[in-house]
Amino acid sequence: MKKSLALAILIFLFTIQFLNSYGIQRFPKPEFESGYVQPETLLPNPRAEVLAFMDIGVLIISLSVVSWLVIKKRSRNGVFWMSLFALAYFGFYREGCICAIGSIQNVTLALFDKSYAIPLSALVFFAAPLAYTAFFGRTFCAGVCPFGAIQDLVSFRPQKLGTRLNAVLGVIPYIYLGLAILYAATGTDFVICRYDPFVGIWRFNASFGMFIFGGLLLAVGIFIARPYCRFLCPYGVLLNWTSRFSRKHITITPAECIQCRLCENSCPYDAIDIPTNTRNPESKQTMGRKLIFITFLIPMLMLAGGWTGSQLHEPLAGVNAKVKLAKQILNPVTDKNQAETFEIEAFKSQGKQQAQVFAEASEVLHQFYIGGWILGGFIGLVFGGLIAGRIITRYQADYVPNKGNCFSCSRCVDYCPIKLPLETK
């Protein structure tokens, strides 16, 4: 039964293909008498598939080299040159696609849409940096990601932002990640790629808006180091959380911290945790009470967030092509230059039924409703977690890089007066 159904679908598909076949041979092919030879239609080939394996190879080698430079060699210079290489290869040569940040969407789409088969390169670009981060910290950010490299290059006068601003702005990547996953999962859009600030620079070609966004980010980046990485990058969220549990991580000092405070201002990214100096002044009871409070608060926050998200599902779904089409069918807009929009024209030419479009749009809306709840709940959880993280704080005596936020760029290493024999050479 199943087989015959599939066969029927196949036949049906082929019939459709046949019916739609473009171009009717209105004029027969001429029979030339002058010995004219018909030229061949030139079809340039896309980039050879083998080269995708080269990209994967370069990625893995770069990750290994940078990790080695960060963890073993503790060499800022080495990391700097590797980042320039990444800028040249993944940026200018590969023109930004595929990149690890965007690959989140490919993975999401592949998980939700079975008919989308993810290219191997996208999968590796997603998984390999995370795997390396689980062992060595965010070495990917330090010297493999071209985004980081170009921003690092222009951070001439980095200013400290203060913990408050860092805390508040640090929420944005979570929201961005949530939105990107929602839009990718519903097959609506790849927002990360759509708002990629630097891809135009790699290609010397993009829409004007893309250039403006990229230029602005670089201009801001002169004073606020790596603004995209810290306050936008959705992949950074994943790396952040993976890095927190990494097996090894860059340390400022190769031995014991002597509290010299020399490194205190070395980090342009405000990613060094300063010593708490004292133990938590709050009594254990107060902290316990607060913890219980936040434990109850988090589900409330998630509910509130989820409800808010669900309220937003219609505007969120508004960019989906199916929803857009349904909207246009319901409220036909007439432009003075055009009797109907191209969407409506295409819809008519395809002979689809209106009811079918509506049903599809309803389905998407429903997905966004569920997605809105999940997204809102997730954002609620993030806020709760951020607050909870600022209640539960351990006593800490030394200057250490924050394992989550640190990009492993190794600048602070040079500021530490303690050198191992190997390094002093």
């Binding site: 092919k29 927190r244 295409a346």
Partner: protein, 214 residues
Amino acid sequence: MQNRREFLNLLCRGTILTGLAATTGLLVYRSAQSGNCQLGSSCANCGKSGKCNLPQALLYKETVWQLDPTKCIQCGRCAENCVMTPSAVKVTHVYAMCGYCDLCGGYLKPDTKNISTAAENQLCPTSAIKRKFVEEPFYQYTIDEPLCIGCAKCVKGCGAFGNGSLQLQVRHDRCVNCNECAIARNCPADAFKRVPASKPYLLQGIEAKNEEKG
């Protein structure tokens, strides 16, 4: 204390890595099953892990963007929405379908009275179509690709009055293969799709068959 924390770290790391491995594994498994098969999971062959012999089923291939001329309505958005300027979508001439007409709907503006190559007669805004006399009464039309901006005016003309031998295609020497094609996002007819890089063109007509053989 220290040990407990390290153990916790190990546990979390393990969870993350397991999750990552599971995701990757699942996607690899699925890819191995369906590849870039255009039939999707509706095909009865799905489930034959890696053993499907349908021509559509391909394993693990890189994809590129291509435009399906049967769906295209020649709206002209390809010219405006590509991240490249001029667009990577250009008109492609399938000579095998061409009628070599003197009165060419793709070359001449409608209602052209005196057929000549003069500017007032040419449909193409950039004069990217070149016309050459072959023999009475046939003319050969060639695309000067660097000039073409992908506005689809000629495609519309050829489709309406001729054989439809002029078709828009993503030219892969120019396309940078964005992760998500900016034109696909704006295409009103949903004509853009990811195709296997080994079969990068979706031309209609004889040419397409050659393509499949190769």
